[in-house]
Symmetry: C2
Subunit: 199 residues, 2 copies
DNA sequence: TAATTAAACGAACGTACGTTTGAATATATA
DNA sequence: TATATATTCAAACGTACGTTCGTTTAATTA
């Protein structure tokens, strides 16, 4: 056989990417094999190479694509002109929702940096830092306003991010709680956590 | 060659375990190869099999060992008879310190459950649940006391655990902050986060 | 010192890996 | 309909994998 009936490059491309994400999340990037990927998409291993140049480049594409979309979505979701409290609430809601809705991308991005090297890795690290700085800026704003009491902005930012990102590791769509309830619970923890107490 | 001068089983066993942890954290369990492990320990691949029965069993040993030690250490570190606030503060301090000091074990335990199956997997899941319940019990105690205001105990517990565990992914021993400072910062976030506000 | 046990070796097994090459078939264009 | 392009295939490459086997040497015991 050769070209199969109804085969369209765009669709195959999409299937490869989606299946790759699934397999990487399940097994890790290094452990995922292109043969397994080909089998699940319904191709021969060689055919994958019409869509990627190498296994490493596949990971790079997935990573950079995700980080770019995350940054774009974040800037849309968090208001530029608002109080620090409003911004922080919006950030928490955005982060949780985005991480639940794009679970595979997020888990991949958080676990597979170890399999990247060189220029592409540096780019991902930079983009991740840019994202972290969004939150750091909000926390700093709140501290300057006098609304937040935070000793170490960076530690607090890492702590909050870890807490929020954790959701996509245990969230169950069939579970008792809605996304909104989970967001509300986390907003309460975060807002109280950073608030300046009256004492 | 055969048996090498100065070779002692206990030492080799320890070297294998320690190196295995390092490699699994660096590459993931499925991607770590026994040949690589043997090379780093200074053995031939076949020699590894004097100490393990299979690659899968190696992971099981590392996992179960770690979970057992975590549970034991936790029960020692958190006082049984104290206020919920005291217990929670102690739990936060314990968790962060333990996770920084045994970084490799912890990262391994958190990322490689996906490579386990069957009975051993079930045992790890049960032990992890037992650990989570330590924290849930503390939070419930605080809510009953009237000291904490928490809607969903389980969500709050997951959120706190994710936040604390996150430390071992970014902590840098050569960094500016001491472990004590990091603990203090997290204690502040957590204690304020769950506290019942005066309003 | 002689016999026994502990520890590691070298070689090989069947299988799977990422990747390259050139040919075959389906769709799009002229 | 004839030509060009897009899409997939089958086969093979060198390499590495987890694991088994029987052998060899070092340390321990009698």
């Amino acid at each position: 056989m050769a070209r199969t009936k109804g085969s369209i490059g765009k669709d195959t491309q999409a299937a490869i990417w989606q299946t790759a994400k699934k397999l990487i999340v399940a097994h890790g990037f290094e452990a995922m094999t292109l043969r397994q990927l080909a089998r699940e998409v319904g191709l021969q291993p060689a055919s994958i190479y019409r869509y990627i140049n190498s296994k490493d480049e596949l990971l790079q594409s997935l990573m950079l694509e995700h980080m770019g979309q995350l940054l774009t979505a974040c800037q849309k979701a968090v208001p530029q002109h608002a109080t620090a409290s409003q911004k922080l609430k919006a950030f928490v809601a955005f982060h949780i929702r985005y991480h639940i809705e794009r679970r595979a991308d997020v888990i991949l991005a958080n676990l597979e940096l170890r399999s990247m090297q060189g220029e592409a890795r540096a780019q991902v690290v930079t983009k991740r830092r840019t994202y972290e700085e969004q939150l750091i800026a909000i926390l700093e704003h709140g501290r300057n306003e006098g609304a937040f009491a935070i000793e170490e902005l960076e530690v607090a930012a890492y702590a909050i991010l870890a807490m929020l990102t954790g959701v996509c590791f245990w969230y169950n769509a069939e579970g008792r709680l809605s996304i909104e309830q989970i967001i509300a619970e986390h907003q309460a923890l975060v807002m109280q956590g950073v608030a300046r107490t009256a004492l």
